[in-house]
Amino acid sequence: MAGTEQPFDDEIAAGVRNGDSDALSEVYRVLSGPLTAYLRSQVRDPQLAEDLATETFLKLVRGCRRLEGGPFQIRSWLYRVAQRNVIDHLRARSRRPDEELTDLPPEEVTADGDPAEAVEDLDTLSRIRAALDQLSPDQAEVLRLRLIAGLSAPEVASVVGKTEGAVRALQHRGVATLARHIRRGTVPLHTHGTTDSMSSEAMVSSL
C-alpha cells in the first residue's frame, strides 16, 4: 500500500479477521500507542483517551470477523471507529453542559534531540495544543491522523471520507499555518479551553 509502512503484516491481519487472540493482541500492542495519542489530542483527558482506545479495540474484537482486507483496511477501520467514539463522547458531553473540560496534565517530552528541542517546555506544548485548535476542523483532523497517528495519506482519506488530493491539500495548509503559529508563538495560552469547545462542536457538526 502506498504511503506509510504498516505496523503489522498480512498474516496478523488474517489472524485478526479470524478473531485470533494473539493477532488481536499484537495489533493492540503496535497500534494502541498512536491511537491513544490521537484520542488524547481530541478529548484532552488522558484517562478518557485510554478508555476510548480500549473501547475502540473491544469493538475490533467484536467486529473483526466482518472485516475485509489487510493491514490498511484494519487500521483505517480502527481510526474510523475511534473517530466515531470521540464524536459520541462529545455529543454526550454536550448534553451535560455543567461538565468542565479537563485540562491536560503536564506530559514529559520524550523525543530525542533534533526538533523536539524547540518544544521542550510545557508552555510551548500547551501553545502547540492551542495552535492545533486554531486550525479548521478538517485541517486539524488530517494533521492528527497524519502526524500524530502516523497514517498514510490514503488511510487518512479513507478515514475522513475525502480524496487523497484533498487530504494532502488540507495537510499542506494545516502544516503551514501551524508552523507559523509555532515559530511566532502567536497562540495565547488562555484561548485553549475556549477553542477546544468550539472545535469540538465544529467537529461534531462537520462529521
Partner: protein, 268 residues
C-alpha cells in the same frame, strides 16, 4: 525567519515533532500490559461466545449422559489419547465447564483439565499427540486465567513449574512470535504452531465503521454422546484421576448458558 523562504519540508518536520511532543504515542508499560490483557481476554471470550449453541447442546447431552453413565464416564475419564473413549473424555470436560455456574469453580476445573493434559503428555510418545495436548493445555490455562483472574495465579504458576520439571521450558502464553516452538523436543509439551490463515486479504475497503459480527461456523466435537455406549472397555487411570474434581452441580439439560463468562470452554 522569512516565510517566503521557508522550506515546506522544514515546516512539516517542525509540526510533526511538535505534535508528537505534545501527544507522544507512547504509554506506560502498565497501561500497555493491562490493555493487552483486556483485549486478549475479550478475544477469548468472543471466541467462546460464538460457539454457545453447539456448546450448550453438547453440555445438555453430556450432562444427561454422564449423569446416567457414571461408570462409563469414569472409564472415559481415565482414557488416554488414542483410546476410543478419549474424545468422550474431552467432551465431558467441556460440558462440565459449560454447566458450572460459578466462575471460580469453572476456573479450577480448567486447571484440573490442564493438569490432566500434562499427565497425558508425560506418557505420550508421538509428536502430533503431544502437540495436540500442549495446545489443549494452553487453552485450559487461558480459559482458567479468563475465568479465575488473580485467584488462580498461584495454581497456574504451579502448573508451569510442573510443566518445566517434566522436561520442557516452553512458555504457556503462546505469543504469535514464539520462536521457542521450534525447540520443542519430540513428544514434549509445548504450544503447537498455529496454522496460517488460509484466506488472503482482499483489497476491498471495509464498508462502514460499525460492523456487527456474524456467526461463524462452530466446530463440533468429535464425539457427542447422545446414547449410552454399551460394553465400553475399562482403561487405566491417569494419575490425576485419583484426585476428586470439585463438586459440580449438573443441571438438567435445559440449562442455558449464562451471559458473560458462561461460555468459557477450552477447545478440545
Amino acid at each position: 525567519m522569512d516565510e517566503q523562504h521557508v522550506d515546506h519540508s522544514d515546516d512539516e518536520r517542525l509540526v510533526r515533532a511538535s505534535l508528537l511532543a505534545a501527544y507522544p504515542p507512547t504509554r506506560s508499560s502498565f497501561s500497555q500490559r493491562r490493555g493487552e490483557q483486556i483485549i486478549r481476554a475479550a478475544a477469548l471470550e468472543e471466541l467462546r461466545r460464538r460457539r454457545p449453541s453447539t456448546g450448550s447442546r453438547v453440555a445438555a447431552s453430556v450432562a444427561a449422559a454422564f449423569t446416567l453413565l457414571a461408570g462409563t464416564a469414569s472409564a472415559a475419564g481415565a482414557a488416554l489419547p488414542g483410546h476410543p473413549l478419549y474424545p468422550l473424555k474431552r467432551v465431558i470436560e467441556r460440558a462440565m465447564v459449560a454447566v458450572t455456574t460459578d466462575d471460580g469453580d469453572a476456573a479450577r476445573l480448567e486447571l484440573r483439565f490442564a493438569e490432566r493434559r500434562l499427565d497425558e503428555a508425560s506418557v505420550a510418545t508421538e509428536e502430533p499427540v503431544a502437540s495436540s495436548l500442549a495446545e489443549n493445555f494452553n487453552q485450559h490455562i487461558d480459559a482458567a486465567t479468563t475465568l479465575g483472574g488473580q485467584d488462580v495465579t498461584a495454581e497456574i504458576e504451579q502448573l508451569r513449574r510442573t510443566r518445566s520439571i517434566r522436561g520442557t521450558d516452553l512458555p504457556v502464553d503462546g505469543s504469535v512470535a514464539d520462536g521457542a516452538r521450534t525447540r520443542r523436543p519430540p513428544a514434549a509439551l509445548g504450544r503447537s504452531p498455529e496454522p496460517a490463515p488460509s484466506s488472503p486479504p482482499s483489497a476491498s475497503p471495509v464498508p462502514g465503521p460499525a460492523p456487527t459480527p456474524s456467526p461463524s461456523p462452530s466446530p463440533s466435537p468429535s464425539v457427542v454422546p447422545t446414547e449410552e455406549p454399551a460394553g465400553l472397555p475399562t482403561v487405566p487411570a491417569t494419575p490425576t484421576e485419583s484426585t476428586p474434581l470439585p463438586a459440580i452441580t449438573v443441571p438438567v439439560p435445559s440449562t442455558a448458558p449464562r451471559a458473560g463468562t458462561r461460555g468459557h470452554r477450552s477447545g478440545g
